[in-house]
Amino acid sequence: MIKRSLFVAAALLASTASVQAYTPVTDARLANPEPHNWLMTRGNYQGWSYSPLDQINVRNVKKLVPVWTFATGKRSGHQSPPIVNDGYMFITQPDNQVIALDARTGEEIWRFQGQGPEEFSALHNTNRGVSLYDDKVYVAMLYGDLVALEAKTGKVAWKTTVANWKVGEYMTMAPLTVKGKIVVGISGGEFGVRGFIAAYDAKTGQQVWKTYTIPAPGEPGSETWRGDDWKRGGASAWMTGNYDVETNTIYWGTGNASPWFGDQRPGDNLYTASTLALDGDTGKIKGHFQYHWNDSWDWDEMNAPMLVDYNYRGRNVRGLIKVSRNGYLYWLERLQNGAIGFVDAKPYVYQDVFASIDPKTGRPTYHPDKVPGTGKKASFCPSLWGGKDWPFEAYNPKLGMIYIPANDNHCGFLEGKVQEYVAGKWWTGVDIPDIGFTVKKDAKSFGEIQAWDIGAGKKTWTVLYPNSMNWGSILTTAGGLVFNGGTQDRMFRAYDARTGEQLWQIKTSSGIIAPPASYMIDGVQYIAVQAGWGVDPQFQQGLLANLIPGWPKATTEGGVLWVFALQE
């Protein structure tokens, strides 16, 4: 078969929709997004996944109905929220696809199909959405290109190669727009990469800065590595960061250390499993917080913490709230110089690795028998997927509560070996068939939604899913609601944000692992979410089906965007 074009090629389909004027996206709009739009992945720079709209609320949510749906034509895991700007909606799919829709009618405006190298192999064939700036839409290609598209037409404005897929680097996150720059980070923690975050000029695609998440010899933090271990030390940067406009600080998370077994790379291994505070203009590292040193559990801490100001134990804190994969919930502080201070940490799921946490620094100590090593098998809870993987928690500022899509009652065991490094190939120190995954024998539930009162430091309610994990990002609204999919039964549900009472649900086309978003057009509030099961939830489901009699083996694949509004 002859391939006509091997790298990016845009396939633009003629539009039948009436294309309306496009409102340029500015720094000011991104800093204060209008309630009727959803301009970035988590709704605002603070990462709240919160909509200030309240037309749909606890009293009327029972009348929520689908108003239109849209088949994406793709299988695999759909993980992008609809990004909405004054009537334009942008959604992304696996296989490097972007679609622009009329957010009111569902008419397709344009479609972009990126094309990667034929021999590219995808560990996570997914995409987590676009970012916006001025009159353009930015999307990261799985195989490593960053592409700028004209928002009105989908035409390629520029493209540049960020990641080298031949050494296992790839991209799945939504970019972050910061003052005319498009900031991205790479995936590849299972392939022995050295992570980095990089910023590109939104107009030209020229690189403005690039910051490695692992210091080179001589740089601060390099003393936490032995010899050449840092070169393949991991700390990928595979989720979008959050941004503090006031201090021009980007908070970006880093992944697991590589290979997975700490004894193969002695030291704390900065900045793996950390949050980095970066200067927005230069990418310079201003501060960091490492959740667990010398990671040996594949516990990425890739999600940036939410920027939340709170009063805790009588003190007002310019804070960060981090729901960690390691099973702990962290209260942190944004200090003026960019440093990250520790306030408190509490387990939110069963965690049996930490023996203690230093109350001043947040540094944990470990039970040695819970640390897997080379030729040393150890079990630990939660499993490598953590108390929460990448799905977004949400913060409701009206209630001072956060909502966590958690998974409990699952554990793992690992035994490491030394694997020959082959560029671009799985290099974790353990083969897939030897990754141990277990569930608690008498477990009554697995997936959860937990609501926590941040100021009080207490869990206030919990929803338990007896027959599923929860892989769904949460949306909370000023209407006092919490929306969540994430279960393998294809349901999408609404809860009372105060009490956790379930108020509404609908069976959709596939499992929902994409973040929901909300927007308003012509006085009508919409809730929109893509259904499309795949990637890690699907893999984990297969393992669970082997462990638990009667567990459904598979959830049907195939992407569909669902858009809901109140029945007239």
């Binding site: 696809q97 021999e119 560990l123 082959v422």
Partner: protein, 194 residues
Amino acid sequence: MGEHERERQVCGCGLARREVVLGAAALGATIPVVAAAADNERRPKAGDRLVHSMGPKKGQPLRVEDLPLGGPGVLAFPMDPSGLVLDGSRFNEVVAVRLDPASLGEETRKGAAEGVVVYSSICSHEACPVNMWNDYEKMLVCSCHGSMFDPREKAAVVFGPAPRRLAQLPVKVESGVLVVTGPFDGRIGAVRAA
């Protein structure tokens, strides 16, 4: 599967070259020049021999006795009669497993020799390397999402998201070395737009 069976990185340089093919053809360049450049990317055919693709024996002929009876498998590339290893495309890498000949299905046996079966190591799901081994079930395992393939039955999918079996590469044994007797009996790689 142990570290000695892991494959080495194959450059994808063929992609760039094929871009040149079209450009060159448009300019009226002769095809043979291009064909020569792509020699190490062509798919295996009868007469090629298999060589280890990684580990201490990398580049050396793959001999039946290199394969533990009952698995795990060993990764290999074809080598043409001139001694050129066909590693210009990662889609040429294969996994060889030695099994009890009596355990092989009838169709599988046609392409096997002395119990050795050889399959494409490129998964039909997302094109990841099938370079791991489940020793309890004696199955080939993909390194991305754990799809399992039965080496006794044409590498049929027995678990996981892979939609299709792996292509078999028929072989014979000559002086203890594995020699290809024909092309892959199916397509290589994942089906996707991008």
